[in-house]
Amino acid sequence: MSETNLLKIENLTYYRGDRAIFDGLDLTISEGKITAIMGPSGTGKTTLLKLIGGQLFPDKGRILFHGQDIHKLSQDDLYEARRKMGMLFQSGALFTDMSVYENVAFPLREHTDLPENIIRTMVLLKLQAVGLRGAKDLQPSELSGGMSRRVALARAIALDPHMIMYDEPFAGQDPISMGVLMKLIATLNKALGLSSIVVSHDVAEVTSIADYCYVLSNGRVMAEGTPDELNNNDSEQTSQFLKGNPDGPVKFHFPALDYAEDLMESVK
């Protein structure tokens, strides 16, 4: 990867209790690209985004955003860095006491002193970009899951960030919403010159829009490369994950006693 690096993760180690979620993870996010981070459920994909956003602290290693170690920044500097990051939460995380319009206007009102007419124009531009200008007066409770994520996306790009992190953007979406979200991620990345990190386990969807992919397993990078390179990867574990085989190196059965022995326990 010869492009400029926006984000660099070095030797990241993070424990939850006694369990290592990441154990010496290294990865790089290039500027202007869509980078997919995939992995089975429970590999800590969302945790990784929270570590990048400075909401969690690693036990070891560092995360460099624009060359700055996120976890060594003062609170003011961390907030300054976060203004350059947008994050789309899995649930959308819209403010339920505000309308769609107010949700998108929120970061603008908090961080700028722009007059109301400019804020209105900017909110309408962002909502138009996600196709929901007509829904500006609705409340979050009146939106479908896909619409909520699109509004959250409009809110995430309100301050024109350098990078957007998408947490499972396709989870639980119908095919149309999924298609819309895929198109939006790809279009916004290109039109706004963003860098995107898409965390997902929807392999087919995410590889169709990603420029580079990482597959995580057991707290490390199991495989990486362009979507084509990954498809040609001959590692059994990677191939099982990408093809969705129910059994392979990642076992179908959770570790347990010998089956016959376990059944005999009932007889005793």
Binding site: Y79, M85, F89, A93
Partner: protein, 260 residues
């Protein structure tokens, strides 16, 4: 035995850690220079936790005053001292019942609502998304609620006391026939502004601070599941109620007990 001691020790460490987190939350929320926006947000919260608690406070005050008037009259009349009904009602309400009962009601009505609201914001990642938008939820969400609670509580307690005294007079004067002039004039000559009214207001400010602090902390510190929010809401009401009663004893001892 060792297990018991171990559990006791673990609980003690846990309690100290919780108190530490609560102190950090308080410190990070309110130690800063307030802006105009903070005033506006506090004003909004004053409506939601103050104005919307008015009905329960006023109705409870009315009934408590009426009961006090009735009970006071039936006891005092035995000694021919019914003219002291005014001071009895006013002093018990202004010094004790007003601040304490209003605070207990406030903990049940507004405290539990604050915990549930903030807890649900945490569970639905609204607080995390605010953080990621570089907006500090301690400033944007916690501080206005804390200030609104501290301002609303003495106002609510004053309204509670006024309505309760009115309730006492309705029962004593209008229904049971205590002399109106005697009722009000003896009240006026007995109730002292500094000693009674001001002390009652100080109590309610302290209660307001602690109830709101407990409520916002429990919401912010909740385990973000439905069970966690339910437990935090209960903890708010239980801990705030116990804190009110314990603080009431402490403040009463300091104000009226002449022990210092």
């Amino acid at each position: 035995m060792i297990n018991y001691a171990q559990r006791l020790g673990a609980n003690a460490i846990d309690s100290f850690a919780t108190a530490g987190r609560a102190a950090i939350l308080l410190f990070r929320s309110i130690i800063r220079w307030p802006s105009l926006k903070d005033l506006y947000l506090t004003y909004i919260q004053l409506h939601s936790i103050g104005v919307q608690s008015l009905l329960i406070i006023a109705v409870s005050g009315l009934f408590i005053g009426m009961v006090l008037g009735l009970q006071g009259y039936t006891t005092l009349v035995k000694f021919g001292a019914e003219s002291s009904l005014g001071p009895l009602v006013a002093l018990s309400i202004v010094r004790e019942l007003g601040p304490v009962v209003a605070a207990l009601l406030f903990a049940g009505r507004a405290g539990s609502a604050l915990t549930a609201e903030i807890g649900l914001m945490k569970a639905t990642e609204q607080l995390a998304s605010m953080e990621m938008m570089a907006v500090n939820p301690l400033h944007r969400i916690i501080a206005p609620r804390l200030f609104a609670g501290i301002i609303a509580m003495p106002l609510l307690a004053s309204i509670f006391s006024a309505v309760a005294i009115l309730g006492g007079s309705v029962v004593g004067v209008n229904w049971l026939g205590v002399d109106s002039g005697g009722f009000w004039s003896s009240m006026q000559s007995t109730v002292d502004w500094n000693n009674d009214v001001l002390n009652g207001i100080i109590k309610s400010v302290v209660f307001g601070f602690f109830v709101t602090w407990i409520a916002v902390f429990r919401g912010y510190d909740t385990v973000p599941t439905s069970e966690g929010i339910s437990r935090s809401t209960t903890q708010t009401v239980v801990h705030a109620s116990l804190a009110i009663l314990a603080l009431d004893f402490l403040l009463t001892a300091l104000m009226f007990g002449e022990i210092v």
